[in-house]
């Protein structure tokens, strides 16, 4: 019998939360993750820029889609991940979950930024304006604000344990925004495209456009996960630095 089976569920969780195990596991995963994500992105870029046809309606601007849409998906994925990790952190007090949420925020914010900017760059030729105030665009902007607010809250609270819990509450409450973004196009009249890939009756998009889109989306997703691991490792080290510093202060106080 393996020793793990004799542990209670929470003990097993704790054991898995051990930073040393995480550090070892993630160290082994990182190299392959880098290879896969960069490889997918290179192939994806080739298909997106060269090996796919222009759209009969939108012309060459359709190529913006291959960056815009994956970024938009990852923006929402990032927030969902953050909210899920926060829930785990609040309910199970799993220390890695806090770090996961904290590390996901800047990555998600970067992709949200990318979705916003590429959307604006697409909007100018398509709609004639950089920005319009419709439900989809506004809710993505709010998503961006939520990311920034979340990071600001982490930065503003000195004590990490406190900051983690406060930020987790914010992430969870803000999670309401994700479905709003997803369905805003359905609920309100907007200029923006309704979903054409993830829908009940299957994708309505041409297959030669679906391939580069899928490649880029997968590539970005792997990239997201890779960076997430890197950042979580950095957070664990940061925690250790803090502990060492405080211990140094305590130790010299004892002398």
């Amino acid at each position: 019998m393996s020793p793990m089976t004799s542990l209670s569920a929470s003990q097993r969780l704790q054991a898995f939360a051990n930073p040393a195990r995480f550090m070892a596991l993630s160290a082994r995963l990182l190299a392959p993750l880098w290879v896969v994500s960069l490889g997918l992105l290179c192939v994806g870029l080739y298909y997106a820029l060269v090996a796919s046809p222009p759209d009969y309606q939108q012309g060459e601007t359709v190529r913006i889609m291959y960056v815009h849409v994956p970024s938009a998906w990852l923006a929402m994925f990032g927030y969902s991940l953050m909210a899920a990790a926060s829930a785990v952190a609040l309910i199970f007090r799993h220390p890695l979950a806090d770090l996961c949420a904290k590390s996901a925020a800047p990555i998600g914010a970067a992709f949200t930024f990318l979705a916003l900017v590429t959307g604006a760059l697409w909007g100018k030729p398509m709609w004639g304006a950089w920005w319009v105030w419709d439900a989809r665009l506004t809710s993505v902007l709010i998503l961006f604000f939520l990311y920034l607010g979340y990071m600001a809250l982490w930065a503003a609270i000195e004590e990490p344990a406190r900051a983690a819990r406060a930020a987790a509450v914010l992430a969870l409450v803000g999670a309401i925004n994700v479905p709003i973004i997803r369905y805003s196009v359905v609920w309100w009249n907007t200029l923006h495209q309704p979903a054409s890939v993830f829908r009940m009756d299957g994708p309505t998009i041409a297959p030669e456009m679906l391939l580069p889109l899928a490649l880029m989306a997968l590539g970005f997703t792997f990239f997201f996960v890779t960076l997430l691991l890197v950042r979580m490792r950095a957070e664990i080290l940061r925690h250790r630095v803090r502990t060492l510093r405080l211990a140094r202060a305590a130790a010299s106080a004892e002398d």
């Binding site: 000195e158 344990a161 925690h239 803090r242 502990t243 405080l246 202060a249 305590a250 106080a253 004892e254």
Partner: protein
């Protein structure tokens, strides 16, 4: 207080603040009618321990339990706490302040307020706004809360700060009456609290920062 079998027990208590262990492996037990005086150098964790008992600071490990109290209430709901801050609003008058806290903490505000003010020598100031009080007068008002609402556990963090000699006398009398009624007092101090025969717990003798 009918519960004379009250007992506050800490076992193997640890406190972590800002990522640093302030104390660990702390155990003590105080019974009804007894007082525990916490001493120790600055930064040894006296205030932190009191906040843990008051439910205002996480317990890193170990347990803290009250036996023989009201089983419906948590430890914090049966305790009075006086910290370094006085919890007073300058715009409210002395008597309004006392009435509010009595209502909040669960006493009969109207009935107890006059006696509580009297016990801390604040009766002549009853209708003054708190903003007009001197440091010691404020501290006395903060202490008057304890008298206005009966709660079995008193947690006092350096209660004598800013008090003049006469007020220290009054505080001593009030504390003795509380103990005689079967209450428990845990107090942190660098001076003498005037509680003869109290247990003393000296914190962090080694980490004298």
């Amino acid at each position: 207080m009918t519960t004379s079998d009250l007992r506050l027990t800490a076992s193997n208590l640890a406190c972590v603040r800002g990522g640093r262990i302030v104390f660990e492996g702390l155990s003590f037990s105080v019974t009804a009618g007894a007082a525990l005086v916490l001493t120790g150098p600055n930064g040894s964790g006296k205030s932190s321990l009191l906040r843990q008992i008051a439910g205002l600071l996480d317990i890193a490990s170990g347990t803290l339990a009250l036996d023989g109290g009201d089983p419906e209430l948590t430890l914090a709901e049966q305790a009075h706490y006086l910290g370094h801050l006085d919890a007073l609003k300058p715009a409210m008058t002395v008597v309004e302040t006392l009435r509010f806290w009595a209502a909040w903490l669960g006493g009969d505000a109207a009935a107890n307020a006059p006696a509580a003010l009297e016990s801390m020598g604040l009766a002549p100031l009853a209708d003054l706004p708190v903003g007009y009080l001197s440091a010691g007068q404020k501290r006395r008002l903060a202490l008057a809360r304890f008298v206005a609402t009966p709660r079995p556990i008193w947690l006092l963090d350096e209660p004598t700060v800013a008090l003049d000699a006469a007020s220290i006398e009054r505080l001593g009398a009030v504390m003795r009456a509380h103990l005689a009624g079967g209450g428990i007092i845990v107090g942190a101090t660098h001076l003498d609290l005037g509680l003869a025969g109290a247990q003393t717990l000296r914190l962090g003798a080694e980490a004298a920062a």
